[in-house]
Symmetry: C2
Subunit: 344 residues, 2 copies
Amino acid sequence: MAVTIKDVAKKAGVSPSTVSRVLSNHPRISAETSRRVREIMEELGYHPNIMAKSLVSRTTNSICIMLPKSAEELFSNFFFMELIRGIVTQANRQGFDVLLSSGANEKDEVEGVARLLNGHRVDGVILLYSRTDDPVVDFLYQNNHKFVLIGRSEQYADILSVDTDNVQASYDATKHLISLGHQRIGFVSGPPELVVSKDRLQGYLQALSNAGLESKPEWIVEGEFLQESGYRAISFFMNLPDRPTAIVLVDDVISFGVLRGLHELNYKVPDDLCLVSFNNIPLAEMSTPPLSSVDIGIYNMGYTASQMLIQAIQHKDNDKVTARYVIPHRLVVRESSIFSVPKA
Amino acid sequence: MAVTIKDVAKKAGVSPSTVSRVLSNHPRISAETSRRVREIMEELGYHPNIMAKSLVSRTTNSICIMLPKSAEELFSNFFFMELIRGIVTQANRQGFDVLLSSGANEKDEVEGVARLLNGHRVDGVILLYSRTDDPVVDFLYQNNHKFVLIGRSEQYADILSVDTDNVQASYDATKHLISLGHQRIGFVSGPPELVVSKDRLQGYLQALSNAGLESKPEWIVEGEFLQESGYRAISFFMNLPDRPTAIVLVDDVISFGVLRGLHELNYKVPDDLCLVSFNNIPLAEMSTPPLSSVDIGIYNMGYTASQMLIQAIQHKDNDKVTARYVIPHRLVVRESSIFSVPKA
DNA sequence: CTGTGTAAAGCAAACGGTTCCACAAAGGAG
DNA sequence: CTCCTTTGTGGAACCGTTTGCTTTACACAG
């Protein structure tokens, strides 16, 4: 059916090996032969069978992106799409294909990734999230597979990862509010099993303590990366006797929920409450009021992760090499935090 | 290195063919042999080499998602992520892997898809968008490849596609505004090369004409699926001498830009201007005010497209079969349109 | 004219499976 | 008891490439 290397060889009057060598620019092929073979490939519409190639070369030129289980429930879509865009762009640029994989649960995830990796369908994996205790990471690490973590592993030091300095970023965001005169600052966190939640919480606490400010347990609430979490958090906060005058939130989308909640309760931002969140998604500057947010270079993270993984795959130095790449962050101040001290 | 079918065979004291048959549940394998072989596969940690399997079976059990070139510029991320989620979920459920592909330009796109399809890396393709004149579709159609279009083709009738009835949906949205008493209704469209833009414009015009209402050219502006488009459109509209009292917008994200613009100009929604848009993304209910929006079941579209494609791949009836699947839509009315007639 | 070096191309064995065909053993019909 | 099925398994060819080892064909030195 499809045209193979043999068809090309026959028509060109050479052997299949010669055609193969033309394809890989082998030095000992005469210019004339090369030209003729290429011409015929063109004419016949030849495309190398990637499977056959992979089989013999034992490499697939493709990588796999592991989506978190139930991405829809835990995270904001924007974050992942942006990460994926960065990964795919860089991978394609390097001639790699990208596979998407996910699982209904953790067991599924490990099995899926094992099937792909052990079954030689992909050469490596990128994990889009970091959980505190992740069986997928265990599997990858123990079987010596190539992989890159977006985020940070608490268990293994010697793995490839791309991350934001979340402690520092959160410190900066909190510091910003402190420098505006706020004394009572709240924090809305993400799911506790995510490393990012812990890191940002830590930065927040550190900033408070460095400034000699108090941090009350009731000023810290856990949520998910969803509007609803913000919406719920805010009714809690605003009913506190000594409620915060400012909040740090781990994600812009949560802030949208907060804005909505405040609007319904007839509070004004930033007059009654100041907000700073993370990710700086495009909508952040379109909300009312526009959100102050820490830009963490999501696309860049994906791009870099992809690059690191492909590099690791190509130079097959089997030693595990520590390479934690930290993408710089930047606090973008907008209206949601620009008034100094709320009247209340 | 890796454990192969031969290793399993040797250890089990059977031939490779027997192991292969166990794997594929061949009827003429004794229960005892099957049990023993499976046990050994487990023990050795055997995973079939997917490449080798594909090579001989001439099928890959994977499909490819074609991302639009420069997705970031034309579309709202949410839409694609949701589509992808639907596709991946259904594909995985059927044992298919999903590849992501994109190209810097149209030539790139065709080449990429040709490489994957002719090179037997994937069995079929899903296109996430419909352009009025798409070389990728031409290629797929003419080479008789399996593919599904999200949207609608203007050139070919006999291809698989999943779509919203955009004309009707837009008609409904416009009708909703008309029934609230609006006489001057504007329209913010998407890029003109997208079929969805044309269809929604048509539904809008049809609703107006059915109601005996006028439609002025200056009430219609083209934009992209970005906040900025809405932001720009609104300053144009509000400066018109006989400006619209309501607008239909092709995407929620555009509406966010509009909301921002109106806020800055000190207009109120819905008092000064009513809005209805499309897609009903989760943030639509969190904006101020919450947006009326046509829910088009994005996840469902992806899910269905995936299902159709896999079906087409598995029953390899080579006849082209028309199958246009229309996902039902539903107008979700919220505050951005609930007042009957603006004061102005 | 033989021997040697080198460039160009061919042969054949993998890579890890699947599957058609052959064949032995066992069971059933006559 | 033969003969014919059925059942369970093994052997080998093949899927489309790559690649190490040869072979061929010159060119040129001795």
